[in-house]
């Protein structure tokens, strides 16, 4: 399996070239956000208030990092389960969000919003948080500091390993991966 190197921010072309199941190394800037930050961002959009970062073309990483030890840039920082953000995702996509990094499957509404907005959902390996932290070059809190680990951080990634989970055509590895494996070993996927 070859690996694709993608420089962030994502572009129309880079997104179009990605297929569910591709191994990708991401480099560049992402913003962190999980339950509480999503709630605030959605409210800010509704109120027409300023957003913590420019959503246009941005990639969000669903993570609440652990504190850094000594001079490390960040502590353990693996993905959190994405479905909890599903309620907010179509709104964020409609406002320009292009990429998401998390783990686990998404709702049908999110999958259609990904297709409609030509975006992409990457999965990082859940629980590989120390390994993933080694691919985060720098970290700083940019907004919602009172949320602690849930504050919005700006991370600069360096060859951060992910897999394309849902591509811009709506192909979904959480649907196809299991059945493809079962077929490959001669079992009938139920």
């Amino acid at each position: 399996m070859d690996t694709k190197h993608i420089q962030l921010p994502l572009t129309e072309e880079s997104i179009a070239g990605l297929r569910a199941g591709d191994n990708v190394l991401l480099s560049g800037t992402v913003y962190t956000g999980r339950d509480a930050a999503h709630k605030r961002i959605a409210k800010a959009i509704g109120d027409g208030a300023p957003l913590p970062f420019d959503l246009n073309g941005a990639t969000v990483y669903y993570v609440g990092p652990a504190p850094a030890y000594k001079d490390q840039p960040v502590g353990a920082a693996g993905p959190t389960t994405s479905y909890r953000m599903d309620a907010y995702t179509p709104l964020l996509l409609a406002h320009g969000l292009k990429g998401m990094i998390g783990k686990g499957d998404r709702s049908d509404e999110v999958i259609s919003a990904i297709k409609r907005n030509k975006a992409v959902y990457f999965a990082a390996v859940g629980g590989a948080a120390a390994l993933l932290a080694k691919h985060i070059h720098s970290s700083r809190v940019i907004c919602y500091e009172d949320l602690g680990t849930e504050a919005v951080h700006e991370f600069v990634l360096d060859e951060f390993p992910v897999i394309v989970a849902i591509d811009s055509n709506g192909e979904d590895i959480y649907k196809s991966g299991r059945s493809a494996f079962l077929e490959s070993v001669g079992k009938d996927p139920r």
Binding site: P67, Y69, G78, D105, V125, G127, A128, K134, G177
Partner: protein, 279 residues
């Protein structure tokens, strides 16, 4: 009476948390290596090798195994010959948690529904204490992530559901959980007891050794059957498809009421962080 000070308890809690968060249980590391060797899916092999490397980085570089450093669940077995001195037991446990989490992620909110305000020190811990014979105090600390906790379930099965009812509930639980609890998972099941006892023992079973076998051979067979069925689902590591969905299932069984057969399932990720200390 044997005296155990709250300071000794506090230090024991800190020690358990630090061990659990940075050093994976060697049994789990071993099971993951075996799984990596036997996996037939290339993508699953890749995920497993990342997870094994992750354990090494965590231990060598002092980075927590997972960023969700969890909610602390403390099982205490307090010998009835033990006299705890210099303060309250639960305060000592929470003081230990507070100290240990200074360098870890704080994931606890004080009000669950309205405020959801972070307590900023990862307290309070969930404490389950039992009085047992003897003059020792045994602490088992779990640092439980909620990606997997959210996939746990309980069902008040009726006696007529039988063995099949348990099998179906367990397989359905694994299937519904999919990639969310970071497979490969460890599962604890308790059949019997009442509503809360079933849940409690199911949780206890995820901190059990991977070599645990129920005494009754019928439950051993059930354990094996459910394990095969779940691994045949093909969910695989990280849910990308593969052979390894379940690392280990441990089943407990308890006396119950003539009208019931509660069945609780506790789901834990491969990053099962737990440690034990006897005072």
């Amino acid at each position: 009476m044997r005296q155990v000070s709250t300071e000794a308890i506090r230090r024991a809690v800190i020690g358990c948390i630090e061990r659990a968060e940075y050093f994976i249980d060697p049994e789990i590391a071993g099971a993951m290596r075996c799984a990596e060797r036997s996996e037939r899916s290339p993508i699953a092999k890749r995920v497993l090798s990342q997870l094994i490397e992750n354990y090494e980085i965590a231990a060598c570089e002092h980075i927590a195994i997972c960023q969700d450093t969890g909610m602390c669940i403390v099982f205490a077995e307090i010998g009835q010959e033990v006299h705890i001195t210099d303060g309250y037991f639960e305060d000592a446990v929470n003081d230990g948690v507070r100290e240990a989490y200074k360098g870890l992620r704080k994931s606890i909110v004080s009000d669950p529904l309205f405020d959801r305000k972070n307590t900023q020190d990862n307290t309070p811990a969930v404490i389950h204490a039992r009085i047992v014979p003897g003059d020792k105090l045994r602490l088992t600390v779990l640092c439980k992530g909620f990606g997997s906790e959210n996939m746990s379930r309980i069902k008040m099965l009726t006696p007529s559901a039988g063995e099949q009812g348990v099998i179906d509930f367990a397989v359905e639980t694994a299937l519904l959980a999919g990639a969310n609890p970071c497979p490969p998972i460890i599962m604890g099941i308790c059949i019997g007891g009442d509503f809360e006892q079933a849940a409690l023992y199911a949780k206890k079973m995820i901190a059990q050794s991977l070599r645990y076998e129920p005494e009754d051979e019928r439950y051993r067979a059930l354990q094996e059957e459910i394990t095969l069925r779940i691994n045949a689902l093909g969910i695989g590591p990280a849910g990308f498809g593969g052979d390894t969905t379940l690392i280990k299932l441990n089943i407990a069984y308890l006396p119950t009421h003539i009208a019931g057969m509660p069945c609780a399932i506790s789901v834990c990720c491969h990053a099962s962080r737990h440690a034990e200390c006897i005072l």
